[in-house]
């Protein structure tokens, strides 16, 4: 049960009711204005195959109209527009699953009043039966108390009824292709808003897929879970003591200082944790650095570099995607690329084709392939390598702190504020920039031509 309403459900729901009713009436009057041929949003016709859809409006026109009418900023107008789409008053023609208002030439249409949310006040779903009955009772009381306003309200509504009836009559009488197309669009839009697309047949399909999905024997999967716990047991501060001490317990932050991002020498526990899985090694940036040292010696750093670039693409901003995709193609995938990765022909073909229209997951196949390569081969060679053995030997094993009560009191008074995470982030960015500049692939051609020119 949602606790947020449990306190004063009835009062809150009545308030919500009134504000929603009020809001809807206001919305409807605004929508009427928007559709007015003289002062509303300018509409056009849109060709769809052989038929034409009438009264089509562009997103940027709607937003400009709202912004002008309500004297608000474009951002607020866009938010309001999105609400109109989300609640079903306006529906998008392209991309009908994304219920947002875009400030561009995307096309929309006004939804017929028949499908407006306020029309939903007829009980058609047993779950909402009681709620809507309550609504009706409240409406009746409201109406009885405000007869004069009722008169006006009915007149207001009459226009809607006439508009709705006209449209339905027209549609029924002629049933021309464009009208049918329009009606289908409207209907589909209504269901997109009011009933998320999970019909019974969809959920049956889900069950069928679930039945066929490969499952693992319990003994195997549970065994793996137990193995994980056993592996990490000594690293869990709730089960084993931290070395030198848990900062919360002793008020001394040595544990955090010794395990910072860019320590020269890591602790033994940290180095041990890198050996648990490639994911652990890569997640700890200090471990990743050590892995890079190993890869440099082996002259096989391009796999990890590609994996990192693909991660940046996946989790980056939408606007930076195409530029990143292009750089990655030029650096790793193009024939003769300076850091060409060795993946099988099929994956390469799929990836290159996908890069013509880059999206967030375009490098998924190649990235998984490269990760598996590293996981099954490179990672184990790293663990046996002199690089890893070296860092294991060098790693610190701090002595357990032994504070007397007086010491502990002192610590409590002198708790160190540490380095602010934003400063750390800034330092990281600087380091990354340095590394990127230093390891930029040498453009042999440019260098040669430079030398030629000097001659």
């Amino acid at each position: 049960m949602l606790w947020i309403h449990s306190d004063s459900f009835h009062r809150l729901s009545l308030l919500l009711l009134f504000s929603f009713i009020h809001l809807c009436f206001q919305l409807e009057s605004i929508l009427l204005e928007m559709q007015d041929p003289k002062i509303g949003v300018k509409g056009t016709e849109q060709k769809l195959n052989i038929s034409t859809i009438p009264h089509v409006i562009a997103g940027n026109d709607i937003i400009a109209w709202i912004s002008n009418k309500m004297k608000t900023s474009t951002e607020e107008a866009q938010a309001f527009g999105t609400m109109l789409v989300a609640y079903g008053y306006i529906y998008p023609l392209q991309n009908h699953k994304k219920l947002v208002m875009c400030n561009d030439s995307s096309l929309y249409r006004f939804q017929t009043p028949y499908f407006w949310p306020t029309q939903k006040w007829v009980p058609d779903d047993s779950d909402y039966g009681i709620f809507t009955l309550l609504l009706h009772a409240v409406c009746l009381c409201f109406i009885q108390a405000h007869y004069n306003h009722l008169h006006e309200w009915l007149n207001h509504k009459w226009d809607f009824i006439v508009m709705q009836a006209t449209e339905q009559y027209k549609a029924g009488k002629e049933r021309k292709k464009p009208d049918r197309v329009v009606f289908d669009c409207q209907e589909r839009a209504y269901w997109m808003v009011n009933r998320p697309p999970v019909s019974l047949s969809n959920s049956n399909m889900f069950y069928q897929q679930a039945i066929m999905r490969s499952k693992v024997k319990s003994s195997v999967s549970l065994g793996a879970l137990v193995k994980y716990i056993t592996t990490y047991k000594n690293h869990d501060p709730f089960l084993a003591s931290c070395l030198p001490s848990n900062p919360w317990q002793t008020d001394h932050d040595a544990y955090w200082t010794l395990n910072m991002r860019r320590v020269e020498v890591p602790t033994k526990m940290r180095v041990e944790r890198w050996s648990f899985s490639l994911f652990e090694l890569l997640s700890d940036l200090r471990g990743r650095d050590d892995f890079k040292i190993f890869l440099k010696k082996e002259f096989s750093g391009e796999n990890l570099a590609f994996w990192e670039a693909a991660e940046e693409l996946k989790w980056g901003t939408a606007s930076s995607m195409s530029t990143k995709a292009e750089t990655i193609f030029k650096t790793f995938l193009a024939p003769g690329a300076p850091r060409w990765i060795n993946i099988d022909g099929r994956t390469m073909g799929l990836t290159v084709k996908g890069l013509e229209h880059p999206h967030r997951y375009v490098l998924e196949a190649a990235q998984t392939h490269v990760f598996m390569l590293m996981k099954k081969d490179t990672f184990f060679r790293y663990l046996k390598s002199p690089t890893y053995k070296d860092i294991q030997k060098k790693a610190l094993n701090p002595e357990q702190h032994n504070f007397s009560p007086a010491n502990l009191e002192q610590n409590a008074l002198n708790r160190s504020p540490g380095i602010h995470p934003i400063i750390l982030w800034q330092q990281e960015e600087e380091e990354k920039a340095k590394v990127a500049a230093a390891s930029a692939p040498v453009d042999v051609k440019a260098m040669m031509s430079k030398i030629d020119r000097k001659k």
């Binding site: 606790w3 947020i4 019974l200 989790w315």
Partner: protein
């Protein structure tokens, strides 16, 4: 119109019958591979040594119920949000308040710390009509007016119940009372993917910690926990065994399992590879709903906050309760283990946040000394009796 999607020869009844048969078949398939139970496997695992967990730090500063908290990646800072509209960034180690973002007349339902430098806040207007999710980039300037810098990112048609950043500050995942989850691009506010499948409010979500990082789990008022593929927007797995709303879902550290906390006063543990529920954490004495849960670093302990003001600590493998934490004076709304596993942060309706940790006996000087005394004493007694 109501029969959209029906093929020839199908009726609503035939589809419903097919649904029941398929559900039964799925259960059969799951049981075929059920060759061992968790507690059987756990018999070979050693028993937990007695846990001594103490709550020693109390963060006071909110004026009303604290609804949510989240740790920063630096393992000591945290952000908390409250019903009085205040969002506070604390250094929990020194108890300093670093930033305060006042958002008057709003309930800040949830907050999250981004991996790099931003904060995400879910604000609902007074009557839950705002439904906005905003991101605030933090800076070093303590006096900065952060409320002015907030940027609206997500928008749903109903209240937003939970938010989480993905692996970077650039993308945000939200869950909403409108029954959907959505993935947003923070910079442009663009909707990248929406996830439909729940038939009621979605109350919580959690991202998988695995190497592929492409899935997340969500739990809602339809008593279902669904696992989603972020790329396609598809629901790939679904678990329906709770008897009431699922308030919180959290992945096991390996990413192969997850736990859920529900109003039916139980927490349950689901194995994703075997595709079934493998443990139920309940006790006759626990009758109030669980609102939140989180795993310790190794996954051996499950911390769950309940509406009876306590935090129960469960032994995930054995299914027994390891210990119980008291201290809060009202419902526990959120528990979160710090990123390096050293402490447990908890937020409560009593307007405080508390930090608890394991009181390891090893480094306690006094305790060791007392142990030594006892040992010496026992040796003397032994020799005395032997002499007699």
């Amino acid at each position: 119109m109501a029969c959209q999607g029906l093929q020839k020869g199908e009726t609503l009844e035939s589809l419903k019958r097919e649904s029941e048969t398929l559900k039964k078949k799925l259960e059969e398939e799951r049981n075929k591979l059920n060759d061992v139970e968790l507690h059987q496997v756990a018999e070979k695992v050693e028993v937990l040594s007695a846990l001594s967990i103490k709550t020693r730090r109390v963060l006071k500063g909110h004026g009303n119920k604290v609804l949510c908290m989240d740790w920063c990646k630096d393992k000591r800072r945290m952000v908390s949000s409250s019903q009085d509209g205040k969002v506070i960034v604390w250094d929990a180690f020194t108890l300093n308040k670093e930033h305060g973002v006042p958002l008057p007349c709003t309930w800040v339902l949830a907050c999250a710390y981004a991996p790099l430098r931003s904060l995400c806040l879910i604000m609902n207007g007074y009557l839950g009509l705002d439904n906005k999710c905003s991101v605030i980039p933090l800076s070093l300037d303590k006096n900065e007016n952060l409320a002015a810098k907030k940027k609206s990112v997500a928008m749903h048609t109903n209240y937003v119940s939970g938010c989480s950043f993905t692996n970077s500050d650039m993308q945000l995942l939200t869950s909403s009372g409108d029954g959907t989850c959505a993935l947003w691009d923070v910079e442009s506010g663009q909707l990248l993917q929406s996830f439909h499948g729940h038939t009621a409010d979605v109350l919580s979500l959690d991202l998988a910690p695995s190497e592929t990082g492409n899935t997340f789990v969500s739990g809602g008022c339809d008593m279902k926990a669904n696992v989603w593929d972020m790329r396609s927007g598809q629901n790939i797995q679904s678990f329906e065994s709770h008897e009431s709303d699922i308030n919180c879902v959290k992945y096991y550290p390996s990413g192969d399992a997850f736990a859920s906390a529900s109003d039916d006063a139980t927490c349950r543990f689901y194995d994703l590879r075997a595709d079934r529920e493998v443990a139920v954490y309940q006790k006759d004495s626990i009758i109030f709903g669980a609102s939140t849960c989180d795993f310790s670093l190794s996954g051996r302990l499950l911390f769950a906050g309940y509406n009876d003001y306590t935090i129960n600590v469960w032994d995930v493998l054995k299914g027994t309760r390891a210990t119980i934490l008291f201290g809060h004076e009202n419902r526990v709304s959120r528990v979160r283990v710090s990123p390096d596993g050293t402490a447990l942060g908890s937020a409560s309706w009593d307007s405080t946040l508390r930090v608890s940790w394991s009181f390891s006996t090893g480094s306690n000087y006094i305790f060791r000394f007392i142990k030594l005394l006892f040992w010496v004493n026992s040796r003397l007694v032994l020799e005395f009796t032997v002499a007699f």
